[in-house]
Amino acid sequence: MVRCGMCGKQNPASNAVCEFCGARLRPMTAEELGLTPSTPPASSAPPSEEPRVPEPPLPAAPTPSDEEDPFAELRDQYFDDDPTLIGASASKDRIGKQDLFQDVEPDFTFGPDEPAETSQQKPATPQDDFPGSIPDWLSEASKPRDTGPLQTPLGAMPDWLQEETSTSTPPPSSLSADEIDIPDWLGQAESKSATTSPAQSEAENEPFSLDVPDWLDATARSESTRQMPVEDQTPDWLSGLESPADEDATTRAQTTQPMSPIGSDPNWLEDQAEEELPREPSTGAEPSAALPDWLYRVAGVTQETSPSPDEEDLDWLRPSAEMPASEESPVNESTSPIPDWLQDAAEIPTSQAEAAQSVPPVEQDADWLRPPAEMPVESAIAEGVPDWLQDAAPSDRPAAESEGELEAEAPQAPLISTGIPDWLTQAAAPQEETPAEAAPLAQVPDWLEQKSEEIEAAETETEPIKAHTEDLEWLRPAGEETVGVPEPSSEQTEAADWLRVPSEEQPAESQAPTEEAGEAELPGWLSGLGLGAVTPSEPEVPAPTPMSEEPSGPELEVGVPDWLAEMGGSKFEPTLEHDHEHDEAAEVELPDWMPGLETASPESGQSHQEVMVSSQEAESTSPTAEPEVPDWLASISGEPSAPAAPSAQAEPASSATEPEVPDWLASMGGETSMPATPSAETELTSPTAELEVPDWLASMGGEPSVPAAPSSAAEPEAPDWLSSLGSEPAAPAVPTDLESEPEAPDWLAGLGGQPSESAMQPEIPSPAEQPSETPDWLAGIGTGTPATPQEEGLLGDFEPSPSAELSTDSPDWLADLDDMLEVPSTPAGEDLLGFPESLQITETAEEEDIDISAAELPEWLRGVAPGDEGASERAAGGLSANVPSELAGLRFEAITGERRDEPATETVGALKDVTGVIRPELLFDGASLQVGNLVDQLIVTNEQQRRISTLEALLEREKRGVVVAAQPSTIPLVRLLISLLMLLTIAGAVFLSTQNTDVVPDPRTSIEVSAAHDLIAKLPSGSNVVMAFEYEPETAAEMEPLSVAILQQLARRGDVHVYMMTTRAAGPAMAEHALAAVTNGSTDGWVNFGYISGGSKGISGLVIGTLPGVVSPISYDYRGKSTEVTASRLADLNPSLIVIISSRWDDLRAWVEQVEPKADLPMIAAISASSAPMAYPYMQNEQLKAIVVGVNDAVAYGALENSDRSPGLRAAWNGQVVGSVAAVLLILIGSLIYGFRAFRQQQEQE
């Protein structure tokens, strides 16, 4: 029974089509396709054991055109959208930038020089058994071949290929082009061949045997390992590539396996190869599965001129007349299931010699894969395997002599059984480096050769970069001499980087004992990835963001096939001399991950900022910058990103010796580290870059192959995640590695169920943290150990479970890988890849403090530059210690929940490696998943609400103000004492005065008093005197004696009229009181005009006069009675003298200023003692005729009049004198006392 590959149901073996789903169970034969059956080769597989059931006629094959793709159906059937599939078989769309041959014109020609024997050796393709959808070329390819570099391992060949190989149906030799969809490239080749080699047209009529590619060859797989491609598992065609070294085309060809229906057995190709290929070993080119004739026609290769079966099959892939088919190509090369280009990469021999020996060499028939004139042409062409694929197999691998070897290899490749593609397992298989196997690289087509030449020429001009050679180390067979990588042009460098072979040192270093069993077998080309110059990186800086473009990653030295090496240059030299600045302009676009792989690890102690700066500098300044390792790789391993440019420049030589290999490839070789694959987008930063090998690759490789030792300075190490997978035992080793490794990004950490720092608080691991730590996500994969607890703080209300949260976010491919991978146990001290601890990524002892002060750091970096402790201190010390507790809650620490002692650094995101980043604040309660309070349609969390309330309380306290406690009032003793003394003194004097005792003598009559007295005395009779009483009751005690004295004198004259007026409201009362005190004389006719409003304006109006009709202020007296005076202005009163009695200086000034300039009248002023200094200037200027001041002049004036001194006047005089004396004494005493005290205080202060 045959199981259908589509539906999985069992069908009779004789059926060509599944009964249930209608899928083809066996590849279509030539007859079914309408092709002329070709003569079955002698080594074709024995006829099928089962009688063939006539099958319905095949549908007419569509006319091939340039627009149709004959392989579309096959791709749709098998390849889906699996991004992991690479190679020519994969969809062109998916290859995208990874299509290394995008701009290359493959020369798929079936040269007429193809020996006819090879065609005859091609097993007949049971075309009639495949009525279904499989094109002939595939059916032919499934036929087992005796030799072939690319033979799928046992069990890896799809069923339909297996069946084909097992049948003896001659391949259809004649198939009109109209019947079969020929891809454009085939059609072109056909036309080309038709024009160049007419003899090739004969091939159209000849049986067309489809050589089964080695990688498609089912003989490399044991029957037991055949598995239907499980969903999400590696397709069979990839599985068939797992152990190319183990495959021997001859063996497979000899292995007769029943051809299972198409789709029922993934190893159909293998089966076909077993059936059809001859069993006798062949050293030369062996007939592979008969290729359809149309393929030969396209290639212009006839069966007569076709080379060996292997070569013949892939003549269409080989440039015409360039690489003559060699029938003596090593069997191992021709039967290798792995393309030559892949096999050559595994240059580092592994401990598993058998696996290495069993790996068939790469088919060398493919011219494009063949190095120019250096590598012998591989005569054998893997049956069914294109030349390019066959040639890609490592030539140094010994061909599998027997199927048993191949089968034996299979169990040694545990990954194979687990569904891992064979090509990957083969890559992990230990490869031995044998001189015999150091066969020249697979044939490199011309276009590759040309490219390599150009690149080589360009590289010779630039500073060699060791890491550049590592680009293609993985592609170079172990043991092969390193090919110098000339400095390519900008266009070529990029294309050739990944194709470069490692330096010679790397193979030598790769021979270091890394041989430990248990590692999954990997193809040579893959084993060479990690087996290159694996050197522990020097000071490692935490890797930048995973997917960033920053250079990081270790260097990887892997064997690179020559043909690939030549792509990048003539020879790959240990020191890269190409200018990585031109990488970006390379023709071939490398995948993003590849360029990033080759970045060397930065110096130790470098922070992410330094790395970034260095990378920036390296990009701009250093032409020899090392390739950059993708951030995601670097971060995984926790390795430093791009190191400083100086460091990169300082070690160009060392870096040049380390070819760069993608991590994933390096890991498959079982190396502890792999050189990063240089690419156009990345630059080599330092030779110590570490390359991380994906765990899934490392696990497949399993065996810690001999790492190629690059330079002493550069020791790429296996990435942590790779190391963790390869470490042994897997479960305990993984967490161990993970713990020691630097913190992986959160997304990685969560994948492994080990949440590192929370995703909300990513932190950049310090430089001390190391690459040796296994990322959390890796740890979680194998062991599921819990991650480190999340930091609290900002996430106070939100405490997600990173493990649960992130673990669910693991990519599918990784999740699937978990199911597929079976981490083998590794010896103690080794990781899954068998890398010894010494080679694992660990913290480097040396930490070169890179002084970035000289670097042109952006401002945002300067503030967070390492060692800038002052900034953080200044920021933290801004607040005084007396901050109230309410404000404490608003501190940065309280808000963010973290201390500022150690500025946190971001570990993921755009702000990775940046310190002092303000943590984001969650708005949602993760535990309850409930939104907080809504404030104006805004979401407010509990923490925010608390801070809002704190701020409101502070503002409320401000509004309330501060209540100052009332201080207890104290009696001013000094004031009381002074006051008491004064009272006693004055009271005594007053009392004595009342006893008619003069305490003091009468004052001396001053000049001013005499003048005033004389002036009044000399007034003519009938004169009018205007007197202004400008004082209030509070000063009446001092002013009234003066006013009384003057009135007394005027009254005594009896012939003088006095007009009294005032501008004060209480003035009229004062005037009346004073007038009342005049006892002697007559005061008849004296008028008291009373209050004159307006102050100075009133006086001015009085002086100027009023308009007619306006009541004059002197029209009424102080009682409001009209007077007999008909005057409207002061001049109308004809005053002879103006006496101003004022207690304040302002009133005197107002009268003087308003009256004296206009009236030009003599004026006498009787003022208080306090106003006397301001009135004397007027007397000096003779604006005032006389000034009488205070009580003393009043006493003197009275004395002149010989009037009786009133008791009040006496008491006032006596009291004033005594009181003034007492005041003077007290002032003096107080001045002395307080002066002396102040002097003493001043001295004490000094």
Binding site: A989, V990, V1111, G1190, V1191, W1213
Partner: protein, 222 residues
């Protein structure tokens, strides 16, 4: 209405006077309610008397009487201050305050003119025209002292800065600085004299007050 004889009036008056005197003198021990009561009474009585005086001696004869005289001219002329008065009242309302600005402007303008004019013509010019040095003997010395005092006092209030001292402080020219010191002396003397006069005035007032109280007490004894 209560009518008192002069003797009784003197007695009540005296007593009130005594009380108010004591109350005001109680400020020596600090602010106290007795002092504030006496102070408020004195202010109230004074303001009341002033209002009455203004009404009877200003408003009625010069505003009410013309308005009620029936004379158009008098009424017209008396209406101007009424209008201004009403405009001032509009100042109370923010919406119409702009109208009261007219009256305020008139009052300010007139007052400023009178004050400035009088200051110039009555003080500044006559003082400027005064001969600086006149007289003989002591008069001449006095004039000299007056001139020196006037000049130095004015210089004392001038801050002409030439440079900075060694300590960095702004420093005037030496002549100006020393003249300013002299002027400060004269200013201090003047202020001292003024203070002395105030003390004398206060002592005199106190003496008169004590004497009155003493006499009142003497009148109380039978």
């Amino acid at each position: 209405m209560i009518s008192l004889s002069p003797a009784q009036a003197d007695l009540v008056g005296g007593a009130l006077g005594f009380l108010f005197t004591v109350a005001l003198l109680s400020y020596l021990i600090g602010d106290n309610p007795l002092y504030r009561i006496a102070l408020h009474i004195f202010i109230g009585v004074s303001v009341g008397y002033i209002v009455l005086v203004v009404i009877y001696q200003a408003l009625v004869p010069r505003l009410v009487a013309p308005l009620t005289s029936g004379d158009p001219v008098s009424i017209g002329l008396a209406g101007v201050p009424v209008i201004l008065f009403l405009l001032l009242l509009l100042k109370l309302n923010p919406r119409t305050s702009w109208l009261g600005s007219l009256a305020v402007a008139f009052m300010i303008g007139v007052g400023t003119a009178v004050a400035v004019g009088g200051a110039i013509t009555g003080t500044l010019l006559p003082q400027s025209n005064m001969p600086l040095l006149k007289g003989d003997g002591l008069a001449f010395l006095s004039s000299i002292i007056i001139v020196i005092g006037t000049i130095t006092t004015l210089i004392a209030f001038q801050f002409w800065i030439r440079g900075r001292s060694a300590s960095g402080d702004a420093q005037r020219v030496a002549l100006i600085r020393y003249a300013g010191y002299v002027g400060q002396g004269f200013t201090m003397i003047t202020l001292g004299v003024i203070y002395a006069g105030m003390i004398l005035s206060g002592i005199a007032i106190l003496s008169e007050r004590l004497s009155t109280l003493y006499g009142w007490f003497l009148n109380l004894r039978p």
